[in-house]
């Protein structure tokens, strides 16, 4: 079991003929992901790495039976690609693209409201259900199959965290990079809701950062018991100055809101084990599982 994707998931790649689209299609195929098609307007009929290319998402879905799509399209066109995937009825859309204007995301939010599409990202590394399916740009080898769910706003810090867990012998069920943009459709709390339902996930690691209040909302879910499994967390950006964007569009402290300290405090008070430094992320998860008495089931 896993959340969002599994070995049955049939994936199309939007922007498959671009350099990033092609590179990561190859890596996803190597991982075992069922890439059934690609979409680049005007290039329908071609093949990339043995994968048929279509002009539109709708045609790709009709001909291949795909239920998930991953978007590797430049920021100026990415919003239209996402909207196309939503209106074609894809169940899952993963947007890797960084740099999409916020108003474009608000437009997407308005369109997606009332549909049953789940959008992950934008500005994210995608997600991996270990040994089943990988959608996006995460390196596959860092994972080990197991029972900890990972949710993160950052790419390389997700890899760092997964690698630390793997090194400690703690496997993962699904790792989801939710992305570093201020406006998105899938947040920590959405992931927690799914992980709560997933019988194969025994605990969750939250890797957050400064900006917004998604970590605080996750903390609320934990403290009120809506999420009941053990949680460990790390929040980056304790040294970030207020009012400065730290790489990610969403990583900004405004006034006194969105600080690392506030997020850590909220999570700690909710009962999560919070790592103080980035080299202790895996150790914090181990401690949380130990405290819950289920470490032996997770190794």
């Amino acid at each position: 079991m896993s959340i969002l994707i599994n070995s049955e998931t049939r994936v199309i790649v939007q922007g498959i003929t671009g350099s990033q689209g092609k590179l990561h299609t190859e890596k996803m195929l190597e991982y075992g992901t069922r890439i059934v098609g690609g979409v680049t307007p005007g290039k329908g009929g071609q093949e990339v790495l043995g994968v048929p290319v279509f002009d539109t998402v709708r045609e790709a879905r009709e001909k291949t039976g795909a239920d998930a799509s991953v978007v590797f399209v430049p920021p100026r066109f990415a919003a239209d690609s996402v909207i196309e995937a939503v209106s074609a009825g894809m169940k899952l859309v993963v947007c890797i693209t960084e740099g999409i204007p916020v108003l474009d995301m608000l437009k997407i939010r308005d369109i997606i409201r009332g549909t049953d599409t789940v959008l992950i990202g934008p500005n994210c590394p995608g997600l991996t259900s270990v040994d089943q399916c990988k959608i996006g740009i995460m390196p596959g080898y860092i994972h080990k199959k197991g029972h900890v769910g990972v949710i993160s706003k950052s790419g390389t810090l997700t890899y760092e965290s997964a690698a630390q867990l793997t090194a400690l012998g703690i496997g993962q069920s699904t790792c989801v990079g939710i992305g570093g943009d201020p406006v998105k459709c899938f947040s920590f709390t959405d992931a927690l809701r799914l992980f709560e339902q997933d019988e194969d996930t025994y605990g969750v690691l939250i890797v957050g950062e400064i900006g917004g209040d998604e970590e605080e909302r996750a903390a609320e879910m934990i403290s009120c018991g809506t999420f009941s499994k053990p949680v460990a967390a790390f929040i980056s950006g304790a040294t970030a100055p207020s009012g400065k964007r730290m790489g990610h569009a969403g990583a900004i402290i405004s006034g006194n809101a969105g600080t690392a300290e506030g997020k850590k405090k909220a999570l700690r008070e909710a009962g999560a084990t919070v790592a103080e430094t980035p080299d202790q992320i895996g150790a914090a998860m181990k401690q949380a599982l130990e405290k819950a008495g289920i470490l032996d089931k997770c190794i």
């Binding site: 916020v102 810090l157 040294t239 980035p278």
Partner: protein, 388 residues
Amino acid sequence: MNIHEYQARELFERYGIPVGRGAAAMSAKEAVKAAEGLKAPYIIKAQIHSGGRGKAGGVKLASSIREVEEVASRMLGMTLVTRQTGPAGKKVSKILVAEAAAIREEYYFAVSVDRAAGQLVLIGSREGGVEIEEVSRTNPEKIVKVAFSLQEGLKDYHIRYALDSLGLEYSKALADILAAMVQLFIEKDCSLVEINPLALLEDGSYLAADAKINFDDNALYRHPDIEEMRDPAEENEFEMKAKQNGLSYVSIGGDIGCMVNGAGLAMATMDMIHYLGARPANFLDVGGTATAERVARAFEIILSDPQVRIIMVNIFGGIVRCDAIAQGIVEAVKTIELRTPVVVRFEGTNMDAAREIIAGSGLQIVSVNSLYEAAKYCVDYVRGGVSA
């Protein structure tokens, strides 16, 4: 991206938001000329990208043209230190000279994005002219927030609800101002449109007595007119240079330079250095690909900060292998003048090969095995504990 108040006033005027009469000036002479077309008394405001100008002495009243000249010559060239500028402050090279209106009441209104709801939000308060963060801390009940979707837009009932909640009387003039703020926000891809204070004047009319607009950097490509308003004097020179090279860099002020792939890991690296008792000099995300060219530019930018005494490179190799990045680092270091030691930590794909490449390069680069070790080495070095 931020712009100055006088530029925001120009945009407000274009959208029909009343701002009163005034003009920007870069010299006392220009200030006098600006004042000559206005009615006394005058208000003179330093044009720097920062809130809290009043408390720092950047906002003054003048009752005569002569006084305008005095205030202007004193204010131009001075360095203002506000709660937002940091201790170094910002030099004033432009001022705004405007008519000081007779104000009856001051309100706060802003349009922004509600990140969690994925909607726009109108924020209002009767406590205008003070820091809104302060109001939200001490009297959160005095602030009203009305979220609305981009699709629906700001409707009259949103405005009536907001004004009712604040105990303000509905007026068409006020509603028009709020609607114009939203129109400006949407048409120009803003991230904040703020009027603090929005003044109710003695004659019953309204006036934007201050004007603040921030823009979404990701959308600037579709607004060349806004990009033209950028004031290079307000930008950190290293940050500008980094941006031109497609790198994400923020100056922090310490002495340990950082080069990291990925924004989250870059922040976490700074946190690690701070935790061990030193200060990072910068945030720098060298990007996922980290080619020799990018690495060379990143080294140059880090080294152009004279405070940097050692550089910590932290790489997690995923799809892009560590050995490829190591090769890039070696090539980059050969093309630049390296005046500090460099400590490198590789983790991920082909990390052992990467360490061998560094070790065999004959360059002044130390390769260590863990994040902790790398940070510890740098912190000890700047504290004089080890010599590299």
